[in-house]
């Protein structure tokens, strides 16, 4: 069992390296430069992929939260926690690249565009979730509390998106069209291919990080067990 999971890790790692370089090649050299936005448009590929993974990670948290509540199991608890951690990473990347994108194409660091603003609030919910997990106490207690918060957080995300969208359209007209990544009709095939390839690569990266993180968390529990054993020996 252990050998097999180690093999999958190694295989994923060696698959990821060429894929990342291939993705970078596709983004920078192979795909055409967009006419209106120029080179900065190339931010878009990784920006969208990271955003996708950020939302995916969040729904993974929600999924494992529900499973934790149905049947408490340390495995689900660990999965949810690692997913949240990676989610914070990718949400941060999405926010920063989104800001750079905004600066380059609309000449402003921040706009209250629904997707960008939702991502910001998503980031805050993620961080709050990690704070809940840092509580003291037995893991059963933390698992229950954090799972409850995870579920409430997931319910909240679509409402946030809707609210910000209404808020924006009511206050001032939509200046930037329908947003940046709904240009499905006008996208050229090479661009679409590059985008899909980037999304796939980043999702694979997410899966790899998940596996690594889970392994480390399991090790942490092993250390805890060994510590308890040592203490028991001392006491006995």
């Amino acid at each position: 069992m252990k050998q097999k999971s180690g093999f999958i890790d190694t295989a994923m790692f060696y698959l990821l390296i060429p894929m990342v370089f291939a993705a970078l090649y596709f983004v920078f050299i192979w795909s055409p430069v967009e006419k209106f936005m120029g080179a900065p448009q190339k931010i878009f590929y990784f920006h969208v992929s990271c955003a996708w993974v950020a939302f995916l990670a969040f729904f993974t948290v929600g999924y494992y939260s529900v499973r934790t509540l149905i049947k408490p199991n340390i495995k689900f608890h660990i999965h949810a926690g690692i997913s949240a951690e990676i989610g914070v990473l990718f949400t941060t990347i999405t926010l920063l690249t989104g800001m750079i994108w905004g600066k380059s194409s609309w000449n402003t660091w921040w706009t209250w565009e629904p997707r960008l603003a939702t991502t910001l609030i998503l980031w805050f919910i993620y961080v709050a979730y990690l704070f809940v997990r840092r509580m003291e106490g037995s893991w059963e207690k933390i698992a229950k509390l954090s799972a409850v918060f995870g579920i409430i957080g997931v319910i909240n995300v679509p409402i946030v998106f809707m609210a910000i969208r209404w808020w924006n359209t009511k206050l001032h007209p939509v200046v930037f069209g329908d947003g940046k990544n709904q240009d499905g009709g006008g996208i050229e095939p090479p661009m679409l291919f590059t985008l899909l390839f980037c999304i796939f690569t980043i999702t694979l990266l997410y899966a790899y990080l998940m596996r690594k993180g889970i392994e480390i968390e399991k090790m942490r529990h092993a250390v805890k067990k060994a510590k308890n054993k040592a203490i028991n020996r001392l006491a006995g």
Binding site: F131, V132, L145, I152, I155, I164, W166
Partner: protein
């Protein structure tokens, strides 16, 4: 269901009775919200006409800031003599504890609003011109949503050592859609604009309230088990 509601009444009555005896939390909340108004009037010159535009936001800011104080207390006070164990082992449904706390907190925040909002209008020299009933409705919907989520998260946060700090961090991101809706609806009503514009915001608030009331009602059991 009937039993849950009657138990909830008992718990709300107990909390409010306690509060009536020493009036400490509610007094603090009123003073705090007045202080927030005071600080804001230093920050934005109240004689400036532009300030009228921030009144809807201010109403909700003082509600949330003072409400946070009360929410923190509502479960911390149960922990002091470990009364929470008593509540948990009582032969009642855990959801009735939640409902009772929501009722008690709602009454307290409403009581604070009755004082602090007129004070706000007074100090900022604001003449109320909107429709009063609609204003009350928006206020009620927003406050209810705030208390529904706030009470739930207060019960969650109380398990941590630094619960006073944890609660706002957990609560504010979850409140953001409600706050957008509440501030926009309040603005529309205070400007005496077409009520129809505010309608979609009020619907959003109602949906938020119902959704989270249902979710929190069912999930509260797990928090009680966990703590």
């Amino acid at each position: 269901m009937k039993a849950i509601i009657s138990d909830a009444w008992t718990i709300a009555g107990k909390d409010l009775g306690n509060e009536w005896k020493n009036k400490q939390t509610i007094g603090m909340m009123v003073i705090f919200s007045s202080l927030v108004i005071l600080v804001f009037s230093f920050a934005f010159d109240p004689t400036n006409n532009m300030v009228k535009a921030v009144i809807p936001g201010l109403i909700w800011l003082i509600t949330i800031f003072s409400g946070l104080l009360g929410l923190n207390r509502s479960f911390l006070s149960e922990q002091e003599n470990d009364s929470i164990t008593g509540l948990r082992s009582a032969p009642i449904d855990p959801s009735s504890i939640y409902l009772g706390k929501v009722m008690a907190n709602c009454t307290m925040v409403a009581a604070v609003q009755i004082i602090s909002i007129p004070v706000l209008f007074l100090l900022f020299d604001y003449r109320f011109m909107g429709e009063f009933l609609w204003f009350l409705l928006v206020l009620a919907a927003g406050t209810l949503g705030f208390i529904i989520v706030g009470t739930f998260l207060a019960a969650l946060a109380v398990n941590a050592k630094n619960s006073e700090m944890l609660l706002p961090v957990l609560l504010l991101p979850l409140l953001s859609p409600l706050m957008i809706a509440a501030v926009q609806a309040t603005r529309i009503i205070l400007e005496n604009a077409d009520i129809q514009d505010a309608m979609s915001w009020i619907q959003l608030m109602a949906a938020y309230d119902l959704l989270f009331l249902a979710a929190c009602f069912f999930l509260f059991e797990f928090i009680m088990e966990g703590s």
